[in-house]
Amino acid sequence: MSATVKTAGKSVRWVDDRLASSNFLKRSMGKVFPEHWSFMLGEIALYSFIVVLLSGVYLTLFFKPSMVEIVYNGSYVPLKGVEMSEAYASTLDISFDIRGGLLMRQVHHWGALFFIAAISVHLCRVFFTGAFRKPREMNWVIGVGLLTMALLAGFAGYSLPDDLLSGTGLRIAQGIMLSIPLVGTYLSFFVFGGEFPGTDFVSRLYAVHILLVPGLILALLTAHLIMVWYQKHTQFPGPGRTNENVVGYRLMPIYMAKAGGFFFVVFGVITLISGLVTINPIWLYGPYTPDQVTAGSQPDWYIGWLEGALRMMPNVEWVIFGYTISWNILVPAVIIPGIVFTLMGLYPWIEQWATGDKSEHHLLDRPRNAPVRTALGAMALSFYILLWIGGGNDLIASFFDLSINAITWFLRIAIFVVPPLVFIATKRICLGLQRRDRDKLLHGMETGNILRLPHGEFIEIHAPISDEEKAVLMSKPDRIPLPAPEEMDENGVRQPGARMHRLRAKLSNFYYADNIPLPTREELEAAEAHLRHEVEEAAPVMEEDRRLVPAHDGSVLHDPLNDDK
């Protein structure tokens, strides 16, 4: 037993004497986690959240969540004597007069951007590998909840300093509230305590930003991790890995060291960037007043897709009985995100229902082996990215010397055309990769060695693939679409719910029909025999002729000129 384990055992005993938790701790410390770099994307999110919490605590010591109008008299000269809210003035003080304040602000803001970006890539990893499947659907939903809360926390924080940019963002948020039929105006008056901007929103958003949302994030985060703990982490297929085991390293000491080290790397990278690169220079924006606005008014990146939707939407309004319905705001800012988040949250059940697959999955899918899911994900990403581009259309226009109108029209069309094309292309690529996998199983790996046989024929020598690779390739689950349901039962009576079943069979066909099946056992055996034969055939020739000439690309050619020697 190594010294570390002994020490661990000692500390466990110490705790156990007091908490009687030895069983739990012993089990936990020895828990095995599988290894893959993509399993650390969620860790980036967790660690940047800790960084954001720590820096946020420092900021609360000096930030004044008040909209009382004062005259600035701090050390930033260009704003000296300007009337502004206490919130904005205290943010200026944090930036210019409080030791380490600007660094902390930048750590907090960059950290928040990292947090949400890491959540997003983590979400993509979970989606494309099918880690959300039973029994982890609930954890997927918690993840979607975490993402929503993170967006809310980010937006509330962005709005707190009461600078020109944050006020502009809030004004748009208020416009979105107003666009909701029937309740919009009431909602806006309720949130802002009267007419916009009023004198309440900073203190209200402050409570949301530092108490409510972080509290919810912490609670959801805890649930998220507990569920990972109890359901165990999924793993990629490989030799010895099954749906019933977990192959990896123990938490103590391997992952304690790795995760601990990674935390400091994340902390370090965020701090380094915050020390070197400006984020949100609020002193340049100036204090918010509703009659001012600046070019380049954009939200932080994670709201950018909604900004883009808003910018792309044609100006459609209906007036019904004197009441205006602002489709131009309602569609991009309320309906689209509503649909996106609903579909995202429900996706595990959608796929389950469509494919009829209700079994537990602890082995991850390689994305190519679930071509339709992968293609749907890629399609969603292309939709998101197009909206994102729309959010920065003005900067793209001035940067690339384009017309902003042309960009907007391009995007309006592309948003309908590009995602389906991406779907088709991704699915084809996945199926192509499946075919290559099948080829590898049947014919082995191409070695690049060309051999001329005595009778003049050229052959390329194939080598059998490694056992490890074979295990990965053979892990591909055989998925068969649900059969078309019997319309009538044996008595010739229409089955109840036949239409539903038919739809389901169609969907399952859509998901699975094009899959390239794995080679059968007979095919594999025949292929193996062939491969053996090929190697055998080549062996005597190879033996006889040792003068193989390397070709320009590194492959080996039989040199006919030297045959006689």
Binding site: F114, D291, G296, P299, G304, N405
Partner: protein
């Protein structure tokens, strides 16, 4: 045989070069005699200066603006370019357009772009003096009007945010307008050019006359823009002072990729 022919062509080259030099310098001498480069003249619009300006105008501007500066309508049938009337635009407009290199126009595009000026300041003054004789228009600012010594930066900033930022961006970095037009960055503009732009309203820009923004306010505003030019980037690399878009771009490229690279490194199998 080969050598001789090469020598002959070499000789011809020298001969040709000498001839070109002679003609060229001769032309320069004659040219200098006919249109002497005028000295900067402080007195407003002396007769000689106006004459020089008119000559320059006829050579460089009249093909679009008309021989009398009355403007020409674009002729779509022949593809001929038109130009607006210059009567009453004033010396400030001429100085702004020519000193920023926008005029003469390189190509009829969505908007005239800033480029290095092709006329000297003396020539610009001469043209401005000539155009000023066509009709009364905004004058150049005086030295006192551009004396930024005791300007009020805070007030200048407020005027800037109220009137300028919606097109020129919060830090004067410029921004896009419709149909390929744009509000240029203010970081290259001199105090004089900013003043001239306000009183003449070039291209898409509205006019901010001395009644809308008083000379005192103009002075504060220009002082604020000048302070933006020299203000250090307090938070580090400024990413162009363009707002959250470039910040997001930086995050997704340099920021997150470096962390993912570390994750790949940590997760790499030990072989």
């Amino acid at each position: 045989m080969k050598k001789r022919s090469r020598r002959r062509s070499f000789g011809a080259g020298i001969l040709m070069g000498g001839a070109l030099l002679l003609v060229g310098s001769g032309y320069a001498v004659v040219n200098a005699e006919t249109t002497p480069t005028p000295e900067p003249i402080a007195a407003e619009g002396s007769v000689e200066q106006i004459q020089v300006g008119r000559q320059l105008f006829l050579e460089g501007c009249s093909s679009c603006h008309g021989l009398e500066g009355q403007g020409i309508e674009a002729d779509n049938a022949t593809g001929g370019n038109g130009g607006p009337s210059l009567i009453g635009v004033g010396e400030a407009a001429v100085d702004f357009q020519v000193s920023t290199g926008r005029m003469p126009l390189a190509v009829p595009d969505a908007q005239a772009a800033r480029k290095p000026p092709i006329y000297s300041q003396a020539e610009i003054d001469a043209m401005a003096a000539y155009i000023a004789t066509l009709g009364p228009g905004p004058a150049n600012p005086t030295e006192e009007e551009l004396d930024l010594e005791d300007a009020n930066l805070a007030e200048g900033g407020e005027i800037f945010r109220t009137n300028c930022t919606q097109c020129h961006n919060f830090a004067g970095s410029g921004g896009a307008l419709t149909n390929g037009q744009y509000a240029p960055s203010l970081m290259d503009a001199t105090p004089e050019q900013i003043w001239q732009a306000m009183v003449t309203g070039p291209q898409q820009m509205p006019v901010f006359s001395n009644e809308t923004i008083t000379p005192e306010e103009k002075k504060n505003l220009i002082a604020y823009i000048e302070s933006l030019k020299v203000e250090p980037n307090n938070g580090g690399l400024a990413l162009g002072r363009l707002g959250p878009v470039t910040e997001g771009l930086f995050l997704w490229t340099a920021g997150l990729l470096s962390l993912i690279a570390v994750a790949v490194w940590i997760g790499a199998k030990v072989r």
